[in-house]
Symmetry: C2
Subunit: 152 residues, 2 copies
């Protein structure tokens, strides 16, 4: 008997696996989602502190040209100060935080949306007393960041 293809699925015959399945990632409250795990911000330790990463779109063989991640920076935490060719789109959804972009500082509150252009040195910082959470959208294919040193 032929295997029935489920609704909303597309089968990649070469790889014999189901890709691109329609899926709901339900918000469980407190900025956690069903079927989305919490990961370290980066695998290597380095010039960053107190951040976690949750990949909402990009880990399940989706064919989107973009990935959607949620990052949360605890009070006192910060991301790497870095630059790269690929852009960021950052949308504040929890608390508030600061974004250093070149020599300019932005404050990001709920739903403020920041487009960070290619090769812009940037860093996200939480100097406040509540968690700072934001969505971050990037191209699926992207270059590696170059870590920078401040004040050089």
């Amino acid at each position: 008997m032929k295997k029935e293809i489920l609704y909303c699925d597309v089968v990649d015959k070469k790889k014999s696996k189901i890709i691109n399945k329609t899926r709901l990632y339900k918000h469980k409250g407190n900025f956690t989602w069903h079927r989305v795990k919490t990961e370290k911000y980066k695998t290597d330790s380095g010039d960053w502190a107190k951040i976690v990463r949750k990949v909402l779109i990009g880990n399940h063989n989706e064919s989107t040209k973009f990935h959607l991640r949620y990052f949360e920076i605890a009070p006192g935490g910060y991301s790497s100060f870095e630059k790269h060719k690929h852009e960021h789109v950052v949308i504040g959804i929890r608390g508030k935080g600061k974004v250093l972009c070149n020599t300019k500082n932005y404050q990001l509150n709920f739903l403020d949306t920041l487009y960070i252009a290619p090769y812009t040195p940037h860093q996200l910082i939480n100097p406040f007393h509540e968690p700072f959470g934001f969505l971050c959208i990037v191209n699926a294919k992207r270059d590696n960041p170059k870590i920078l040193t401040k004040f050089k």
Copy 2:
């Protein structure tokens, strides 16, 4: 004198215009943003009602492989019932709504994130009494939707 290139800008020499400028789209409250206009959902009238569109990322020569839009459906409104090759990522941020995806109905509440796979017939509906607002991310290069008729 040579024209100075501003911070965060990249100049496209062929077209002699500035592209990819780092920009903050500040949330003004009530799901409106500075420098983001409110548009019609689609230019043609058709099988949809009571929706507006705000393009947050995609209208300013960004080189992202994706566009970010905010849609809002007033009570009683709905989007076209349609399908296309390109995927949607939909994130509820205001009120709640329903998403018909093939024959399945999803409810979308705050921060629920729905991945709609290629060629999935879908429609977003607001049967509730408050506005239903959601972010929708799509590939920048995408095919045109095919409008469908229900119950065929």
